[in-house]
Amino acid sequence: MPNSTADHNSSTGNKVAFNPSMTEITGATILLENVTKSYGAKKAAVNQLTLEIPAGKTVMFVGPSGCGKTTTLKMINRLIEPTSGRIVINGEDVTTMNGDELRRRIGYVIQAGGLLPHLTVGANVGLVPKMLKWDKQRIADRTDELLELVSLDPEIYRDRYPKELSGGQQQRVGVARALAADPPVLLMDEPFGAVDPITRQRLQEELIHVQAELHKTIVFVTHDFDEAVKLGDWIVIFNEGGKIEQYGTPEQILAHPANEFVEDFIGSGAGLKQLGLTRVRDVDIRQAPAFTVGEDAATAVAHMNEAGVLRAIVLDSRDRPIGWVTRRQLERMTTVGAAHARQFPVVSDSATLDDALDTMLVAGSSDAAVTGSRGAYQGIITVQTVIKAIDHISADPEEVSTPVGHNTGAIPKLATGENGVISYAMDEEETATEVENDSAPWAEHSDPAETHRGSERA
């Protein structure tokens, strides 16, 4: 450990802190450095955890209840103060700064959104900017922008109260509120646990779209492994005491579970779960003629004759698909209308092939419209496309270097990578000697047999 103190100093001196506009990635790298949380004399809830969260990535914390995943999350914004260890965000040690100020710079989303029921939707979203003393107009503009981002029409929802919204809508407002001050880091604590499965699927897809636009660093706690596979760039599987069992990409974990614990946690059907890894946008999306309501019907028919198709998709004014119309129906109209449009299934381009196939089968249709960001029409996907794609799923994921994550107590080294994005690396030799030389308490805890003992806190 004495060797690495010099590195700390250089890292804190290197004030890149929270400057989002350096690259495309607006997120910040987070490092939990040898962090322990214990309550009294009981066994530590989180023990000697060192974990790097790479900038601009979504990292999922999964594990059984009581494994310390929520505790770990809450230590990042210091809602729970670590007993020992350091928390470093973009090279800046935030372990001792004012906790309230720290939390204003980190987005936080909890189950059911955690909206304040006595404030309107707009006021809820504007809470953090208001605390940061933005002027009124700027807050109002930002609020509308964020409600748009989470697919809620500001005109309709800005002045409503949370109780007037559905669970899914409340959750969206919760995400908008967390993003209000454009924080580089977003912490999400089982945010979609309290909504029905269909809403959850939609919220997950929206989160993927939002993240594709914003590139935040997202730390997401869930107990649902399928959700972790769907949303995560990286997954950390925790065991009791905050012990990392495996840290890898969803592909890596599904293809090569590190040990029996991980295998049990993934459950059966790991092969099938890999279907959940390919997204609609990764396969061929076919183009089909689509016309916006109000367009000239004759031109539309001419287009269809040219393309030699009998059906076309009708879009609303915001490019969202409404349904199918046939060429016959169009011939009878002067402008394209949606009155006789037939409903058809719609999937998001971030939906997994699993979800897409499911949607089509349930609707009894051999194809579905694909929508992108904010529900805009992209093309169509057919059952055949999905089946073809299944054949191509590779069993062996490519090797990628995993971020730092262990419970040995060894301290990682700072390595500023391309474009000034901070990352960390373990000095292999040092790691080995650290563990050997020191007969410190962690040696005992890193014993796998030890992890089956209870720890009281989640």
Partner: protein, 213 residues
């Protein structure tokens, strides 16, 4: 009765206004004190328990006796009346404030802290507004209860309609004695209804539409 009223109308009006003003001001003072005490106590189970027991016991003290006891340290007039009234007002509001603050959903408080509100901001912007309807209900109970107590404050020569009741009762059977008592009683009831209406209106104006039942 008619001539009694028309002869003494100005006195009745001014006594009624004094009565109303005494109760309203004590209510305001008591609310501030009650919220302050509740804010100190609500996070601790022990302190909340103590505060609750004190307010329960306090309500059993006969107001007439307490007023009499206040004469020694505070003398006659407005001072003992205000102290005793504020004391009685305080108790129901304190109870409700404790219940209201304890009833705020923990996850809301954590959400507020999680987005960077200090514990002070959380109290004033989240916990207090959420507990406010319950506190206001306590204020309405207090207002009704102390309307009666305020009448007794005439015993220590306090302001209000009590003097009409005391003088009427002391010479019952004499000229206008009955009218004096009835007038004061009716006036107290009317004032009580007016104050209750005002508190209801206050609730309409200050309780967020988002948490109104």
């Amino acid at each position: 009765m008619g001539s009694y009223l028309s002869d003494r109308w100005p006195q009745i009006l001014s006594a009624s206004w004094q009565h109303f003003s005494l109760v309203a001001q004590c209510l305001l003072l008591a609310t501030v004190i009650a919220i302050f005490i509740a804010a100190l106590c609500y996070r601790s189970k022990t302190l909340s328990g103590v505060a609750n027991s004190v307010s329960a016991v306090g309500l059993t003290i006969p107001s007439f006796a307490l007023l009499g006891l206040m004469i020694a340290p505070l003398g006659f007039g407005v001072a003992p009346a205000v102290v005793v009234l504020t004391f009685y007002c305080l108790l129901p509001i304190l109870r409700n404030a404790l219940v209201g603050l304890a009833g705020v959903d923990r996850s809301l408080i954590e959400a507020a802290r999680g987005i960077g509100m200090s514990s002070m901001e959380t109290f004033f912007k989240v916990e207090l507004p959420m507990a406010w309807p319950v506190i206001l209900a306590g204020m309405r109970v207090s207002a009704q209860m102390t309307m009666g107590v305020a009448a007794i404050s005439a015993y220590v020569l306090g302001p209000g309609l009590g003097s009409f009741i005391f003088s009427g009762l002391s010479r019952l059977g004499g000229a206008n004695s009955f009218e004096s008592v009835v007038t004061a009683v009716v006036a107290v009831v009317v004032i009580a209804l007016i104050l209750d209406g005002l508190l209801l209106l206050l609730g309409r104006l200050t309780i967020s539409r988002g948490i109104r039942a």
